[in-house]
Symmetry: C2
Subunit: 498 residues, 2 copies
């Protein structure tokens, strides 16, 4: 669900930093990564062929077991499936006897896909030639199996060369990221996992967000989210039909579809934008001066025209200028309709009065809103207006996340990027969401950010891809991404000592 | 699209009427119908196997040609496909040299179906045993290929016995009834068809609406309808995304789905029921005393409990009593949502901001509202509120229809029912719709009503059925329905002479 938006990222110039660590045995490790290129690619293809889709309950148990074996194969000494009330997670540890421990977050699930929309089969992991170089095409390629494979490739290099890692690793993986992580809290609350995570200096999620000029960003925060299905039905309401009936009966029957429209109508202002849920803004914290500074720097270095073209839009909301729109993107909570489903949905019309209507929604939350607050306020708002019969099914969600740019985790990341001569930006807040609050919030309160080189596209869309062999020396392919993680682990170990 | 609702039908007691005509050669004609039972059933099965579905553009040309051949086979001397801007129609004449000419309306199209929902294949026309007797199951069985087959079976009997019909027949058939007859006017405006229809004493649509006690109704009128797709899209609006984008962008992008919700919200009152479109009630004519009398009589003879159970409802709108709800059903125009479609429609959720949202709607019209008025007022209402970008696609429709109970057509129908000892009711207005106004309105201004014996169910639903061999002597099967049409044609010929 992560979504990198260059519009809110600030491109930084390099400033003086402490001396950088050197990676011991780098040539040997690099040779191992290179020698395992085909094996790592094969691992990625095999993983893509093995998708878990939580929304469709596809490969729910198989996906976790597959993840577990994959981790053991990469050098984790223990890896265990953690049962939840939903799709199971995986908890694994790699103890290198090091003083510092790094947390890693994986998602092993992928988004739904429709093979008809793809130019090559979504589970085949076919290699295609792109302007960027040779890329793998498949569901999950960039979100997140590709970047995760690059991280595991780094671990394979340590294992294959018999080298010890400079840090210990604690990894937690979930299979429900794409449905807003409804049970991830259960995974990190597993007593052993909780104890292990407590030892970490912070948590990273492998990512691949390099732009075509090689620049990347460190996302210091992300909005929270609740995903909700609002369901109006005659069966639950006790009024109107319990199933679809002939539409001529509308004259003396109540309509669950109209009821949903009337309820939805109360959730946003007349322009269909500003949330109108009672008390929704009570805990909304304005952007800090530093956050606005970072956003303004990002806007300065971005092309509004390119972004608009890419999104297929002509105007920002209210025709605001790019900077104002970018402040809004980072600072405002949203009430979004993801989908509407009721009655007849085929071509043309069909004269039915539907017995059921559903709005699929997501609500993005900014600090200091919480997931619990949002659910409670939404339900109270509807109940107060007499819509208590509308089922509010919260299928997933979590509070916003924020990490301090002055934490050791972020400082070591910055150091690694500088060493690799990669331009970077600090993004105060993703408009998208990831369950970082599970780490940054109580009880753990650790820094947690996405991190990595490489590139790809088409997350949640057809023809999702991840770059394997790069034509551009500024953009990492699979091997360079793996080696960047190798370097980073040493950098972190050194930074933690200071 | 016809919908018989016993709740608004008045069961009449027999009163004195002129002496009834006798059917000449009845025994011979009845023997012919009986001898052709298997052939007529085979014709119905073959027709069911050959569906035309206008909404899906299925079998558009084949269906009309099939209809044409079927009419020639039944004894029409000429039958011709009439091209339209949509699905073609058929115009046919059977000249018996009689002084009186009867108009017949056929629909040869059927509603969409999903084979997965059926207990036997929807195009197979399988015979099944029901409480009522042996019935054929298939899409179009009762709506309207079964009743139409019964009418054609009557004509086959005349042809097979070499007997002349007592009246001439002018038949018009359309293939777009299920999408609200958008081009039927073009068929009846064909110069030859128009001239032929002008000679008719009135028009009937074969039907099969006998209840389990054998009672049937004569529907003197029906609401008009417009079927409309309201489409809000970024592409047409010029705001928000032109295609689905990641939902995190909601903060600074307009939403076509929210826009549709806001526009829909203006169309009905807060309770989701009363139309709130500007000027919508300007031409709504209240029920006459006679119409209320007929409705009240119908309510007296109906079981509210049975009807509620059948519809799966517990309350009428506003918890009105059955009589008030029945007045409302007949007298009020409706604004109905048939379906909602936007963005992600699968299980659970998907974090998209949809580029398009569609409401499928139907608006039922009562006298003296017109189809043209309704379309114009809907568009003006939306435009006045700034929703001029929302596409209003009127996919079909027509004005309400009314026929005088004192017309020769209705009087002869009543006489036939009395002769057949069938209890009957007069229903002042169907809550559903059929394009009778094409005949009852200008320029033709002829009486037009549905008529026939027999029974069936599941129109627009899975397992649609039509009774072939009845166990109940009070309810007609295929052969009895055909013979009833034979008798009726003589009755009409006699009545027209008086």
């Amino acid at each position: 669900m992560r979504f990198a938006c260059a519009a809110v990222a600030a491109l930084m110039t390099c400033t003086a930093l402490p001396a950088l660590a050197e990676t011991p045995n780098r040539a040997q490790l690099a040779a191992s990564v290179k020698g395992s290129h085909d094996a790592n690619l094969k691992r990625l293809q095999d993983w893509i062929a093995n998708p878990t889709i939580a929304a469709e309950k596809t490969n729910v148990d198989g996906g976790a077991e597959y993840m577990r074996k994959r981790l053991l194969d990469a050098g984790f000494q223990q890896a265990r499936v953690v049962k939840t009330d939903g799709v199971p997670g995986v908890f694994a540890t790699l103890d290198a006897g090091a003083p510092t421990t790094l947390g890693i977050y994986f998602m092993y699930d992928v988004k739904q896909y429709d093979p008809k929309e793809w130019s090559s089969p979504p589970l085949e992991g076919r290699l295609v030639d792109r302007a960027e170089g040779k890329a793998i095409v498949g569901r999950g390629a960039v979100n997140q199996k590709g970047p995760e494979t690059a991280f595991l490739a780094a671990l394979h290099a340590f294992k294959d060369t018999g080298r010890k890692l400079p840090v210990n690793i604690v990894l937690v993986a979930e299979g429900e990221e794409e449905i807003a992580s409804p049970h991830f809290r259960q995974i990190v609350s597993d007593p052993e996992a909780a104890a292990a995570l407590k030892k970490t200096i912070g948590v990273i999620i492998p990512g691949a967000g390099q732009e075509s000029n090689g620049a990347t960003s460190i996302d210091l925060g992300a909005k929270g989210v609740i995903e909700v299905q609002l369901i109006s039905s005659g069966e639950h309401w006790g009024r109107g039909p319990a199933k679809d009936v002939h539409s001529s009966l509308k004259a003396n029957l109540d309509s669950p579809a109209w009821r949903l429209v009337k309820a939805l109508n109360t959730l946003v202002a007349e322009d269909g934008q500003t949330p109108a849920i009672d008390g929704w803004f009570d805990n909304v914290k304005p952007l800090t001066a530093r956050q606005k500074e970072l956003i303004a720097a990002g806007v300065k270095n971005s092309s509004e025209t390119d972004i608009m073209k890419q999104l297929g839009i002509k105007h920002w909301y209210k025709d605001e200028d790019f900077l104002t729109a970018s402040y809004r993107l980072a600072s405002q909570p949203t009430v979004n309709i993801e989908g509407l489903v009721s009655g007849y949905t085929g071509p043309g019309g069909k004269t039915v009065l539907p017995g059921r209507a559903e709005a699929k929604m997501d609500f993005r939350l900014v600090p200091d809103m919480t997931r619990e607050e949002a659910e409670a306020k939404l339900k109270a708002h509807l109940a107060k207006r007499g819509f208590g019969d509308i089922v509010v099914n919260v299928s997933g969600g979590y509070s916003p996340t924020e990490t301090d740019e002055n934490s050791v985790l972020v400082k070591s990341q910055i150091a690694s990027l500088k060493k690799a001569k990669v331009d970077y930006s600090l993004n105060p807040r993703l408009a998208g969401s990831w369950p970082g609050v599970t780490f940054t919030g109580p009880p753990l309160k650790r820094p947690a950010v996405g991190f990595g080189l490489g590139t790809g596209g088409g997350a949640h869309a057809p023809d999702e891809w991840y770059l394997i062999d790069s034509k551009n020396p500024k953009v990492a392919g699979l091997d360079e991404s793996a080696m960047f993680y190798v370097d980073y682990l040493y950098e972190l170990a050194e930074a933690a000592k200071r």
